[in-house]
């Protein structure tokens, strides 16, 4: 039975339907302190672990003298590689088979400063912290390569998979009437979620419970099961609230292995909270990057060639690629392009994903370069973007599913007042403040992994939605409640959403801005199935009040079931459930294709990323788009830069809840302002230490750094991109912010700053 009903929407805050501006359903718990985060559980008998990190960047741990620490009050265990129980290596997220060698989360061989080398577990946090300071560690130190610019670092390792080439870019560049070239750089940047990483681990026999903030419950649970040789079902990972992640809480990390192992060794629950300074090396943020971009163009500004060479730093043991050509080869039409990338080994923690990995620094390069070209040929920066507008995906040679970028340019320019811009740099001022207007575009792909959801209609007429997917502030709880409410036909406050527990139906990673689209799709499917079953029973059950109607369908709306001919005389779902003697109607549905609908592939789908579809798989190229217009004010004497206002127009397709989507967009824009003006990991070139490993020295935006931000949605539903028409939201809006600010700073000052952040010493 297929039942399709169109429901009316009011489109205001009271509207629980999908697309309405409902306030967060998890909001009351968060504003009253009732929301319990991973590190806030208190299992009986819990003890505390504190990590000890290396003070050299390269070499070996020669000795750890734990005598004093072990004698300190309350100390239960000083864990080192020598006494830790063995842990097995695990399959990684790409489904690479594990190594035969054991996995050692505490290092014997040191490859970066701040690497975990020991842990102290004691009865209280204070005792563990005090005892950790008593460890005497000696090292055999070797010379470290501390940064991308270290003379010893070399040019790195070519990553052939990143090469994109068409036409003959070098030749076309050589003969182009207009050429520009620049090197664009971004420093090491950190995720800095306000909730630090950490976990509580408890063993009961051969079952393990972990309370831990996680962007990927099933992926991390799989790793934990493999590390400790457990069946997947024996691991329960609980993560109902996550205090921010921005890419950093999706993969299993060393500190988690340490805590789980300590709990196993001691037979007691162990809590390990990574300290704020330790977070700067307990996982990697965005690696430092450099890109050389050469553009060849006609005298009118039409692109003839793009030659792009880039590199990002990676760690000594792993290869992390920040895809620096992702926007370069996508944003503009050009007959010739060559993009290649290397990675360079330095003594750092393995870099990781930070909001729009790849697209973010890639856009910084190309969006600054196109701005430079606009000045070179003497046309408006907005005009040059329209002149080189890509009507189809220039790399995949496929049509866009939707690309409302032209609409975004128009809407953003109008709202910003772009036409008031005087074209000459240093031509707009107010007192000693130089005023600059800048523009830059951004994009983020639509990633797609199949999902799964359980929807349950209960005897009291309420609805439950269950999934191991997570909400770290994107609004998952809220939009899934809206989805189920709309699909079934109940008020949104009758829906209860349970997330963040590996005991619930599976979910893939909350990353790549894919979760909202895949989960609304899965919940929609399961909710329609539950509704169909409810209507079927209401029509056919001998005890149903609708039995005598001889209807072939019924309407469900506002929690009432009614005949389509007499919609006003509904009977509450609860009453119908009671009459037909059912305590629940339940539908578990996934959106896996038929060929993956078997136990092995089902597990693989949710615990690796091997089934994630690329944005160009299929007939279309699927991407979100945005443009940012920025006004900066630069103090002529001091070189201080303030963002005075911003207008951004964004195409994320259909918004499931505009109120929450706007918040995510603004959050991305604010992180982009920090990236442009403040954020930079500073590394001591002698010892390879992150010198500003705290929130007083690694500057993130504060409230007073942020002006009014206007965001405009120009998206339309895109059902090629997702079942319900949404595209990427969370990672989109940061892309393009930093180049828009850099372009505005050039317009204000006439100085082109090609390395972020744009700090005052670069301007005076």
């Amino acid at each position: 039975m297929t039942i399709v009903e169109t429901r009316s929407k009011r489109g205001d805050a009271s509207d629980g339907a999908l697309g309405g501006r409902l306030s967060r359903v998890d909001g009351p718990a968060k504003i009253t302190g009732e929301a319990t985060y991973g590190l806030e559980y208190h299992p009986e008998g819990m003890v505390y672990a504190v990590l000890v990190q290396s003070t050299i960047a390269s070499g070996r741990v020669r000795s750890i003298d734990a005598t004093a620490a072990e004698a300190a009050p309350g100390v239960l265990l000083v864990m080192t590689p020598e006494n830790a129980l063995p842990i097995k290596s695990a399959t990684d997220w790409l489904e690479t088979p594990p190594s035969e060698a054991p996995y050692e989360p505490l290092a014997r061989e040191v490859t970066f400063s701040g690497q975990h080398v020991a842990a102290v577990i004691a009865g209280t946090f204070e005792q563990a912290t005090a005892a950790a300071a008593l460890l005497k560690i000696t090292y055999d130190e070797t010379k470290a390569i501390t940064s991308l610019d270290d003379p010893e670092a070399g040019i790195g390792i070519p990553i052939d998979q990143m090469t994109v080439e068409w036409g003959d870019a070098e030749a076309a560049l050589a003969t182009a009437p207009v050429r520009i070239e620049g090197e664009y750089r971004t420093p090491r940047e950190y995720n800095v979620p306000i909730e630090p990483h950490g976990l509580i681990a408890e063993w009961k026999g051969d079952t393990l419970t972990v309370w831990e903030p996680s962007q990927w419950i099933d992926g991390m649970a799989r790793t934990y099961a493999e590390w400790f040789g457990l069946p997947f079902e024996n691991v329960r990972l609980v993560s109902p609230y996550i205090g921010g992640g921005f890419g950093s809480k999706a993969l299993p990390l060393e500190h988690s292995a340490v805590a789980i192992n300590a709990a196993r060794m001691l037979g007691r629950p162990v809590k390990l909270a990574v300290t704020r300074p330790q977070t700067f090396t307990a996982f990697g943020g965005r690696p430092a990057t450099r890109q050389t971009i050469a553009l060849g163009a006609t005298r009118e500004g039409k692109l003839l060639s793009i030659v792009h060479r880039s590199a990002n730093e990676t760690s000594m043991k792993d290869i992390f690629v920040e895809p620096l050509g992702s926007v370069t080869s996508l944003m503009y039409e050009t007959p010739n392009l060559s993009s290649r990338q290397n990675v360079v080994r330095v003594n750092t923690v393995k870099p990781g994903a930070l909001r729009a990995p790849g697209e973010n620094p890639s856009a910084f390069g190309i969006e600054c370069a196109i701005d430079e070209l606009a000045y070179k040929v003497g046309i408006d920066p907005l005009e040059i973007r329209l002149l080189n507008y890509a009507e189809q995906d220039p790399h995949a040679k496929k049509p866009w599913s939707t690309r409302r970028l032209r609409e975004a340019y128009a809407a953003g320019a109008e709202a910003f007042g772009w036409s008031k811009r005087h074209p000459q740099p240093r031509s707009m001022r107010e007192g000693n403040q130089l005023i600059g207007y800048g523009v830059a575009a951004g994009t983020y792909p639509v990633r797609r992994t199949p999902g799964e959801a359980l929807v349950r209609i209960l005897s009291d007429g309420t609805v439950e939605v269950a999934s191991s997917s997570i909400d770290m502030g994107q609004g998952t709880y809220t939009i899934l409640a809206q989805t189920a409410a709309e699909a079934i036909g109940v008020p949104v406050d009758a829906v209860r959403v349970k997330l963040g527990d590996s005991a619930l139906p599976r979910a893939p990673v909350a990353g790549g801005s894919q979760l909202a689209n895949l989960m609304t799709g899965a919940v929609h499917k399961a909710a329609l199935a539950a509704r169909d079953e409810l209507i079927g029973l209401a029509i056919n059950d001998p005890n149903s009040p609708f039995r005598n109607l001889q209807a072939n369908t019924l309407v469900v709306e506002g929690g009432q079931i009614a005949s389509p001919r007499d919609a006003g005389s509904g009977i509450a779902i609860a009453e119908v459930m009671q009459r037909i003697g059912r305590d629940r109607i339940e539908a578990l549905r996934d959106t896996l294709p038929e060929n993956l609908r078997n136990e092995k592939d089902h597990f693989r789908n949710f615990t690796t990323i091997t089934t994630m579809r690329s944005p160009t798989e299929g007939d279309y190229s699927l991407h979100s788009w945005c443009v940012h217009f920025v006004e900066v004010r630069v103090d002529e004497d001091f070189g201080t830069v303030r963002v005075a206002r911003m207008v951004s127009a964004l195409d994320s397709g259909r918004l499931y809840n505009p109120k929450l989507a706007e918040s995510q967009w603004k959050g991305g824009i604010i992180m982009g302002i920090g990236q442009a003006l403040l954020e930079e990991g500073t590394i001591d070139s002698r010892h390879g230490r992150v010198m500003n490993n705290n929130l007083g020295d690694y500057l993130v935006p504060t409230n007073s750094d942020i002006p009014d931000l206007k965001v405009i949605s120009v998206g339309i539903p895109d059902t090629n991109a997702s079942v319900l028409g949404g595209k990427a939201v969370g990672e989109l809006a940061i892309v393009g912010v930093a180049p828009a600010i850099a372009n505005a700073v050039f317009h204000a000052t006439g100085k082109r700053i090609r390395d972020m952040p744009i700090t005052l010493e670069k301007l005076i």
Binding site: R24, E126, Y241, T702
Partner: protein, 158 residues
């Protein structure tokens, strides 16, 4: 250092006795000893504001306050902000309405700071709110909505 002392803390109108080492911070006393986990630990070194509580009506960073220092003073945490019937404080209600948070982790600290900011008379303009709320970091970037929420709550509270 294993000596413990018994201290009496008046938290949200209730006096509670707890036995702690003298070096235990007010933040850890609240979270680990009294299971009042609404107050958050973001940095443990006075840089993020997530641990903001009120002591004798003024906002303080509980991570830089020893539990013993708070003895004999009135402590209010986010759990004590709602009315006796559970009705939301105007600042809480405004945070919900204006979507002034995402992940929710800095939120209790933001709310405690916001209540104090209004009470101090520092919510006179958007710029003033921004300045006096800059000790509370929000990495999700809810700042514009926090400003809106405080502006609205200040009207209700005046």
């Amino acid at each position: 250092m294993t000596n413990r002392t018994t201290i009496q803390l008046e938290i949200n109108g209730q006096t509670q006795a707890l036995e702690v080492e003298p070096r235990v911070t007010l933040l850890d006393a609240l979270r680990d000893h009294l299971q009042l986990t609404g107050t958050k630990k973001g940095c443990d070194q006075g840089q993020c504001g997530a641990c903001t509580v009120h002591v004798d009506g003024e906002r303080v960073l509980s991570c830089l306050t020893l539990a013993a220092q708070a003895e004999g003073r009135k402590i209010t945490t986010v759990e004590g902000l709602s009315g006796p019937g559970g009705e939301l404080h105007p600042v809480q209600a405004a945070f919900l309405e204006h979507d002034a948070f995402q992940c929710g982790y800095c939120t209790p600290g933001q709310i405690m700071s916001a209540v104090a900011c209004i009470r101090e008379g520092h919510a006179g303009s958007d710029d003033e709110i921004r300045e006096y709320m800059s000790g509370n970091l929000c990495r999700c970037g809810a700042y514009p909505h926090i400003v809106e929420a405080i502006r609205e709550a200040a009207k209700v509270m005046s």
